[in-house]
């Protein structure tokens, strides 16, 4: 990236690193949430469903503020994490990853659910008669068959994580080299006199990243479907 300034390429690599952490953090939970919401009927199902989707409709700044209350140094969870594991979230890149994970969670779960709904439950029944217990069935039949959705969900969440602004700046602030991701760098450039060229470059990168994320997700989904012998 010869044409990026050091601080701009730092924002790029930081964004990629935070988005990757965010996806790694939310992937197992996303699969679990998708499974519970698709396959289980229980009291409070609708409530959980709404809760998972909340970040889509709440102002991101408010999500950041909630995270601050819960995971801040004096927040109930933040306090515990620091005491037990020495994990500090506020003003750190891990905190930024948490904020982006929460914001992109509904998108991830959505993609996984669609895919899981298409998994033929008859196949799980067949596995059952062949001697596979519940976890075995999930690991060897359900999960591989919903893989297109898991991949699509991960890639969409990754792309969305690259672009998250409100929740990040509220929760972990705008610290160069630690929490200043691409959108934050873009915002900062716009606020700086003479930063127009930098802003344009950052915008182009963000655009390219988002687009390639979506294309990649579509390509993956097609490939897996072909592997499973289904029409694309």
């Amino acid at each position: 990236m010869m044409w990026l300034s050091p601080s701009e390429s730092e924002a790029l690599s930081l964004s990629l690193s935070i988005a990757a952490r965010s996806v790694v953090l939310s992937l197992p939970l996303g699969v679990l949430a998708a499974w519970v919401l698709t396959r289980r009927r229980f009291l409070g199902h609708t409530l959980l469903d709404a809760f998972v989707h909340l970040p889509l409709v709440l102002p991101p700044v408010m999500v950041g503020y909630l995270l601050l209350l819960l995971f801040g140094t004096r927040g109930p969870i933040g306090h515990l994490l620091q005491r037990a594991f020495g994990v500090e979230l506020i003003f750190t890149r891990n905190g930024a990853a948490l904020a982006t994970a929460v914001m992109s969670f509904p998108l991830m779960v959505r993609a996984m659910r669609i895919s899981l709904e298409n998994v033929d439950r008859g196949l799980e029944e067949a596995a059952r008669t062949l001697g596979a217990g519940a976890f075995d069935r999930f690991a060897t039949i359900t999960l591989p068959l919903m893989l297109p959705g898991v991949l699509a969900g991960a890639i969409t969440a990754f792309s969305a994580a690259l672009g998250e602004f409100g929740a990040v700046i509220t929760f972990v602030s705008n610290i160069p080299g630690e929490t200043r991701t691409l959108p934050l760098a873009l915002y900062t450039a716009l606020q700086t006199p003479g930063g127009d060229d930098a802003a344009a470059r950052l915008a182009v990168i963000s655009f390219a990243l988002g687009l390639s994320g979506l294309l990649l997700s579509e390509w993956f989904a097609r490939r897996v479907r072909r592997l499973l012998g289904r029409p694309c």
Partner: protein, 372 residues
């Protein structure tokens, strides 16, 4: 002995079924669509929970509601062949076959090689499942179920989704399994031809009830069965023993009751079982020993019973020496011949109108579960 007695109510449908299958053997669950056949085998497999009842194979108890025993399907070791095969699309044919085998722990008695041989799967191993024809899919599904080393094999209309040609392609394999394996099978079907070719025992179902059951020979004259398959398909089914070849005609001699029939069935060893279907509409009844006829087969017997079939015909049951056969005769002929129970008669049947199905003599060592 497989013994099943279960009750289940789902919405407006209620099932109350009971049967006992002498093992090894193939029991056909036969009835119209919607009579509860699939529900019943899902209850046997444990995929549906019964409201009450008991399911056991000899001393293996899978369900006993009174004693609060309900073994989950994954621990019942019951092989299940679904109508739609349900092969795993993300695994190769071999991966599918091995799926059950891997989970069958140490009690293997059927090997991949045996299954590949019985079902002719050798050339399919590396294929993906979407590259298989309908018949091949079902063969793989059957192999997969067998490799799970099952105590019992359930087959839910495995041929129903196939066209006639594909069906003919798979049926011989099923006959092969019946003759080579000592694994009891429950075969669901609404096609009497399949039942005729495969089963040793028939359970009739109607509206969620098991209404009649018995060996194929006894059941072939059952009035309820008649109402399901229609008058034209009615006829005695006799499992005759091959006696040898008739030197003068080249036809195969098969025992039937006290007498014997000559049928066209080349190259059968003496002692094998040949199942014969004598359709009631093809039988001719005479009250004197027949002479000067082209008919090759005549069985002497006594009229056992008579029942009205429709407005102008009657069904005459004839005892040919411990075995009953059935002839459909017009009411006018009954009157002219003065047919009545107790009257000695001769039943004539043309060799060419006999349908026969080969049951191999049981092998000296069938492939069986250790301790079965």
């Amino acid at each position: 002995m497989l013994s099943v007695a279960v009750k289940k109510t789902r919405g407006s449908f209620s099932l109350d079924a009971a049967f006992e299958l002498p093992t090894p053997g193939v029991v056909a669950l036969f009835g119209r669509s919607g009579s509860g056949k699939s529900t019943l085998i899902n209850l046997i497999a444990g995929l549906l929970d019964a409201d009450a009842g008991r399911v056991a194979l000899d001393d293996l108890i899978w369900l006993d509601a009174e004693r609060r025993i309900n073994v989950p399907p994954e621990r019942r070791r019951i092989g299940y062949v679904f109508q739609d095969a349900r092969l795993f699309p993300h695994l190769s044919v071999e991966g599918n076959l091995r799926y059950g085998e891997k989970r069958a722990s140490s009690r293997a008695f059927i090997s991949l090689d045996t299954v590949a041989g019985l079902l002719d799967l050798g050339s399919l191993m590396e294929r993906r499942t979407h590259q298989l024809s309908g018949g091949e899919r079902q063969r793989v599904a059957i192999g997969r179920a067998l490799l799970s080393q099952p105590n019992l094999l359930l087959l839910d209309e495995p041929l129903a989704s196939l066209d006639t040609a594909r069906r003919e392609e798979v049926l011989p394999y099923l006959e092969n399994l019946r003759d080579q394996l000592a694994v009891p099978m429950v075969y669901v079907s609404h096609d009497f031809d399949e039942v005729l070719r495969l089963s040793t025992y028939i359970v009739l179902m109607e509206q969620g009830r098991t209404i009649a059951q018995g060996g194929v020979g006894d059941m072939s004259l059952n009035a309820d069965l008649r109402s399901i398959i229609g008058t034209d398909a009615v006829g005695a089914i006799i499992d005759g023993r091959v006696l040898g070849v008739d030197e003068s005609s080249g036809l195969t001699r098969v025992s039937a009751g006290r007498g014997e029939l000559k049928v066209h069935a080349p190259n059968l060893a003496a002692g094998a079982t040949l199942r014969l279907q004598l359709l009631a509409r093809d039988l001719i009844v005479a009250t004197q020993p027949p002479q000067n006829l082209s008919v090759r087969n005549s069985l002497s017997g006594v009229v056992a019973s008579m029942s009205r079939d429709d407005a102008d015909s009657e069904l005459i049951a004839i005892d040919i020496g411990g075995t009953l056969i059935m002839a459909r005769v017009t009411t006018a002929a009954v009157r002219d011949l003065r047919l009545a129970p107790g009257l000695p008669v001769w039943a004539l049947v043309k060799s060419v109108s006999l349908r026969s199905h080969y049951f191999a003599a049981p092998p000296a060592k069938p492939i069986a579960r250790p301790g079965a």
